[in-house]
Amino acid sequence: MMPMIRRAIAVFLLAMLQASPASAELTVQILRGMAETVPIAIVPFGWEPDGAATWDVAATVQADLERSGRFRALPRSQMIEFPHQADAVDATDWRMLKVDYVVVGRLVPLPDGRFELRYELIQVATGERLLGTALPADQGALLPASHRVADAIYERILGVRGAFATRIAYVAVAGPSTARSYRLIVADADGANERVVFNSPEPIMSPAWSQDGRSIAYVSFHSGLPAIYVQTLKTGEQVRVSARSGINSAPAWSPDGGQLAVALSRRDGNVDIYLLSLATQELRRLTDDPSIDTEPAWSPDGRSLFFTSDRSGAPQVYQVGLGSDDRPRRITFEGSYNARPRVSPDGRELAVVTLDRGSYRIAAVNLAQGSMRILSNGSLDESPCFAPNGADIIYATREGGRGVLALVSIDGRIQQRLAASAGEVREPAWSPFLY
């Protein structure tokens, strides 16, 4: 019975929904970096037989590290030598150029047509070789492979896994209010390689990644009423998973990928949190309160959910376990408005939207101490989401009345903007690690 229903509600729009290139590329602008950035030299990679490489690995690695706001790269014009292997690195020369680390490498064609990125990281002070890796990649995968080189260097130096080889999903809106176009877009973490996942003249909202990074759940009004869809990125297959009476809102994927937490109002109009099994369509009500309960976010262990409720009279964040006897517990107490929680990958912090002296801003809540720190300085900031390494939070803000995306490090010291060349962008969702 259930598989029948599932088949009946599955909409296959394969050809139509195949991801297609988008026109409005995001550009990244660093507003403020760390006062103490790590000086590093990324030497242009060599090409194994001879001469210059056909793909500039070093340029991508350098752009990634600089964009993170945590590194300061030595311009190529100031390099006095271009070694491709650690044993050719003269530490004295690089010490003179005041860099702490040097990255060298080669791009080597393999007999099977693929390539190998062979790279090494050297600490200048000690001459120690901190990394030496050979990473094979197809010709078409040299860009993501280069991001992975940056990931490894970032991790070796800062002790935190890099998130350059990840992706972000967001909603782009263009056109006048009478003829809007909404597009759900997936791009690389640096804004490149935009692909339209779904587009509609009606609102698209709340993109959420599955833990395996292969699918996105979102809300679309394209049928005239809101419904929750799950779309597989590779094939474009779109399945409608909830089109119940009332609102179908705020999907959040469970860590095991089997369930969506959603906010539904159903016939009685009371907005509560439900768990929807994707395999069986079985629905379990998790909260039952006459107030608004919405914006569920899973704890990383999958045992509890954080959500927004105005049961105290104004929106605040609560946590509830999944057991049938579990009662919601209030988490935020500072201020009159705290909403839209997202949990850090280590489970220790929440990112929320908070009302801070008349402005809606992004704040981090330390769950052990209950303390809150404001991380953004806009007036209508919203939709925060942690990077999978927990180092940064991406969110939506306004610039000159236009919706743009912004990035802030969890200590608040690094700030960036990601603006589209045209139209507005909003509701960013950062993918999990993809390898």
């Binding site: 209010s177 609102p203 909202m205 709340s206 009004f221 005239g224 009423l225 809101p226 009332g246 609102i247 809102s249 705020a250 906010a263 109002s265 109009g269 907005v271 608004i292 919405t294 914006e295 927004t308 105005d310 104004a314 929106p315 408005y337 909403a339 839209r340 939207v353 009302l355 809606y360 007036s379 209508l380 919203e382 939709s383 306004r398 009345g401 909003r426 509701e427």
Partner: protein
């Protein structure tokens, strides 16, 4: 003119039901008895020839079912983060409820909206709660449950652009849309 839709429906149902059976002949003209004839039955002077009266469909009523009562506002505005209907809208609610009770064919969609402040998903919930508040108020005054549907757009479809209170107060609203 008034017969036309009936004939079309009759022909349509015959076609739907008809494949295995031989279709009965569709009359080319309305049956004679249905056509008023000057000096016909009325001239006979016998009561037994007058059948039971039936209600004539009112073309005006059909129009009323798909449009709001004349001169009554179709937008209810709300306070920030609130979904209670302000007392000033009591007469508006009452006029719509009476109109819907009078025209059972009326179908109304209540579209809930919010201003842009705060988070988008919370605003979807808030818009739903506003639409539900209007739905309950209309039902309390005689509108039927089956006449009403709700949809919340949250902050996605502002009536006024801009990030100031004059735009916000126009955007915190429920639109009462007839014909759905």
């Amino acid at each position: 003119m008034r017969w036309m839709p009936i004939l079309v429906i009759a022909a349509g149902s015959l076609m739907l039901a008809g494949c295995p059976k031989k279709p009965t002949t569709v009359p080319e003209a309305p049956p004679e008895s249905a056509v008023p004839q000057q000096g016909g039955a009325s001239g006979a002077g016998s009561d037994s020839q007058v059948g039971q009266g039936r209600e004539l469909p009112d073309a005006g009523a059909a129009a009323s079912a798909t449009s709001p009562p004349a001169g009554v506002a179709t937008v209810i505005y709300f306070d920030f983060d609130r979904s209670e209907i302000r007392p000033e809208y009591a007469s508006v609610i009452s006029a719509h409820a009476k109109h819907m009770a009078a025209f059972g064919a009326a179908r109304v969609r209540l579209e809930g909206h919010t201003d842009e402040r705060g988070s988008r998903e919370y605003n979807i919930a808030l818009g739903e709660r506003r639409a539900q508040a209007v739905r309950r108020a209309l039902m309390l005054q005689g509108a039927g449950d089956g006449q009403l549907t709700t949809v919340s757009y949250g902050e996605e479809r502002p009536a006024a652009e801009g990030s100031d209170e004059s735009a916000y107060e126009k955007n915190r609203r429920v639109e009462i849309v007839y014909g759905h």
